[in-house]
């Protein structure tokens, strides 16, 4: 049974924000798939089916204080950290004002300095060791900030995932490791990715708690993350969260999941769409009325249209960017030894 939203302890106002962001993220995701199909952008990685888990996760952190190393399906969480649809669309159009890579990074490589969401590569699990360094920094600073890092289930086969968990256990680092477990790595099902009963068990092997969390249940997710964040803030170390979610769309816009997932399975996934569940919940719990939801849909459609037009109209990077910021600029006065 999915737990009531109000059992999360969040206020009605907060829950309204959460729901609106989940819906905005879904509608934006649909728009981004459309933009790719019509040739306006070259690529999109959908996060549909992972929104509720990501929302529960993001709400447990303090954006601007805590560091966040997202992976490519994290649009919902990224937006809850304070990023707008227009900014995300600018990244997808390769525009200079896109916060993730100023036109240099592929779509979905979410990052933004102003909310301490750190720039990511495409090499899966590569962000895990980096997250431990940021977490070690909190110890040096005597700060109670926490570092959040996410990846997919298939990516846990990478050595860097394990090396990071091992050191985080040894050094008791204030970090929350997340596996957004959608059961697939492109076309490869989980049973061909790992034999463990649950990836949460990986935590034990490194001396840190590992927990399985239902990422289709907002309240369960939020409370599990809150506990992990509290642990980290208190100096009790890292937690590994195996967040069970759904991958509703193809792996990316370059993939066709009908080749490797049966019709029946895809129908099941569609029926389990967590957006439906949470929509029913907000109605049942009186967080939104039916009429308000209709208004919200209308408003989001308008907002996303405006954001799309504005993002598309934003300038591409200047050609000078090609050779800028390869190395640090020379700055003799500050003593920073850029090019000396």
């Amino acid at each position: 049974m999915t737990r009531k939203l109000q059992e999360s302890g969040l206020t009605k106002a907060q829950l309204r924000v959460v729901y609106a962001q989940i819906l905005r993220s879904r509608r934006l995701d649909e728009r981004m798939l459309q933009l790719q199909r019509t040739g306006k952008t070259s690529f999109h990685t959908s996060g549909q089916g992972q929104e509720i888990g990501q929302a529960g996760m993001a709400m447990a952190f303090e954006p601007g204080k805590d560091y966040y190393l997202p992976y490519y399906r994290d649009m919902t969480a990224f937006m809850l950290f304070g990023i707008t649809a227009k900014e995300i669309l600018m990244d997808s159009f390769g525009r200079y004002d896109g916060p993730s890579g100023h036109g240099l990074q592929m779509p979905n490589h979410y990052a933004a300095k102003r909310v301490k969401a750190v720039s990511q590569s495409s090499t899966v699990a590569s962000q895990y060791p980096v997250a431990t360094g940021i977490a070690y920094g909190a110890k040096l600073e005597n700060s109670d900030r926490v570092t959040l890092v996410t990846t997919g289930d298939g990516s846990t086969g990478e050595g860097e995932f394990h090396e990071a968990l091992n050191f985080a256990g040894v050094a008791k680092l204030p970090v929350v490791f997340v596996i957004e477990n959608n059961g697939y790595a492109i076309s490869t099902p989980h049973n061909e990715e790992y034999a463990a009963k649950s990836l949460a068990l990986r935590g034990q092997g490194y001396g840190i708690p590992g927990v399985d969390v239902d990422g289709l249940d907002f309240t369960a997710t939020y409370l599990a993350f809150k506990e992990a964040v509290t642990r980290a803030r208190k100096g009790d170390g890292a937690t590994l969260i195996n967040l069970h979610v759904l991958r509703m769309q193809d792996h990316t816009s370059d993939d066709n999941q009908r080749i490797y997932r049966s019709k029946a399975e895809l129908a099941e996934v569609k029926a389990a769409d967590p957006l439906k569940t949470i929509t029913q919940q907000v109605l049942d719990e009186g967080i939104y009325t039916q009429a308000e939801l209709a208004d919200l849909e209308k408003q989001l459609k308008k907002d996303i249209n405006v954001a799309t037009d504005q993002a598309e109209a934003a300038p591409l990077p200047d050609l000078s960017v090609l050779s800028q910021n390869v190395f640090a600029p020379v700055d003799k006065e500050s003593g920073i030894y850029g090019n000396n």
């Binding site: 590569s121 360094g133 920094g137 091992n166 910021n325």
Partner: protein, 329 residues
């Protein structure tokens, strides 16, 4: 004045920077107390600065690199030691995909101002995996500086500069220089070596020899000996392996018109080929002889058996002979 060797110079550099930069951490396998590194480069530092700042890591090279990068990203400085340059390879993804790309891919929003130290070089009976020169794996990666000191003064000054540099720096130390070269250094002098400049160690008019590492010592020694028979050698310490200091390289090549390039690494596919290309592009018509490279054979470095190991290594007499032949060309 105190006479110190190359290894003591490295230790002093770390000591001075730890003292003046609160954000600096130093770590790696066996780097902390009480051992202070398998070569003792970090000896005494954990005792002095505490084991939160100077510490052991698990055997985990990708993690060591990522730890440094994460510290750099969040406003700290880090010197990560790889026990041997051979074992930096498991960390290649972190160094190239993360550290070298961080500033560019975020257009300066994020950067990784960290140092990766790596003892390299053979002649220590270490076989394949304690002897290699792995610099050619990492040169040619925009965003990543690759440097190596070949004098005691630079061991200190270049490491201090690398720590202060806003870019990630891969810092190679030749193992056989650790105790084989010594210099008088005033302990109170603040030495900061330019991070991206080659240096002319000896002026000459007949031939130009460029090198780095232990082979540079052979070049200096041969230059001294050949001077007695009237051959004047311009000796260039390459120092910054990437990016290369084109201006100094080209000027030194033009000065004599005869160029010999020497390193311990394999001949093909390495730093020397790139230097040669720069000279060909910019100074071809000033040359009086073909550019000559003296380097290791194109076999994996390097066999254990003493005779094979010595046959792999560029020897002092080969250097001297190559210099003499070039002078006579």
């Amino acid at each position: 004045m105190a006479t110190i060797d190359y290894l003591q110079a490295l230790n002093q550099a770390l000591d001075e920077e730890l003292a003046q930069d609160d954000t600096l951490t130093v770590f790696g396998e066996d780097v902390g107390a009480p051992k202070g590194g398998v070569f003792n480069v970090t000896q005494g530092l954990a005792e002095k600065y505490g084991d939160l700042r100077v510490f052991n890591t698990p055997l985990s090279e990708a993690e060591i690199a990522g730890l440094a990068i994460g510290l750099g990203v969040s406003g700290h400085h880090a010197v990560a030691e790889f026990q041997f340059a051979d074992y930096i390879l498991p960390a290649t993804n972190q160094i190239i995909s993360e550290a070298a790309r961080m500033r560019y891919r975020s257009q300066g929003d994020w950067s990784a101002p960290v140092v990766f130290r790596a003892p390299y070089g053979g002649g220590v009976g270490g076989g394949f995996y304690h002897s290699q020169s792995t610099e050619k794996v990492f040169v040619g990666q925009p965003g990543l500086r690759v440097v190596t000191p070949s004098t005691v003064r630079d061991a200190k000054g270049l490491l201090k500069s690398a720590i202060r540099c806003a870019d990630p720096v891969l810092f190679f130390e030749h193992k056989r220089l650790y105790h084989s070269i010594k210099t008088d250094i005033d302990p109170d002098e603040e030495i900061l070596t330019p991070i991206d400049k080659a240096q002319v160690l000896r002026q000459g008019t007949d031939i130009t020899v460029m090198s780095y590492g232990i082979t540079l010592q052979y070049v200096l020694q041969a230059a001294e000996e050949l001077a007695k028979s009237g051959i004047q050698t311009e000796v260039v310490d390459i120092r910054s392996l990437y990016p290369l200091d084109e201006a100094t390289i080209v000027a030194a090549a033009k000065k004599t018109g005869k160029v010999l390039l020497v390193n311990e690494d394999n001949k093909e596919g390495g730093v020397l080929g790139e230097i040669s290309a720069i000279i060909s592009e910019q100074a071809l018509f000033d040359l009086d002889a073909p550019i000559k490279r003296l380097a290791g054979p194109d076999s994996p470095a390097m066999p254990y058996a003493k005779n094979l190991e010595q046959a792999f290594l560029v020897q002092p007499d080969q250097v001297k002979q190559a210099m003499q032949e070039l002078a006579e060309f």
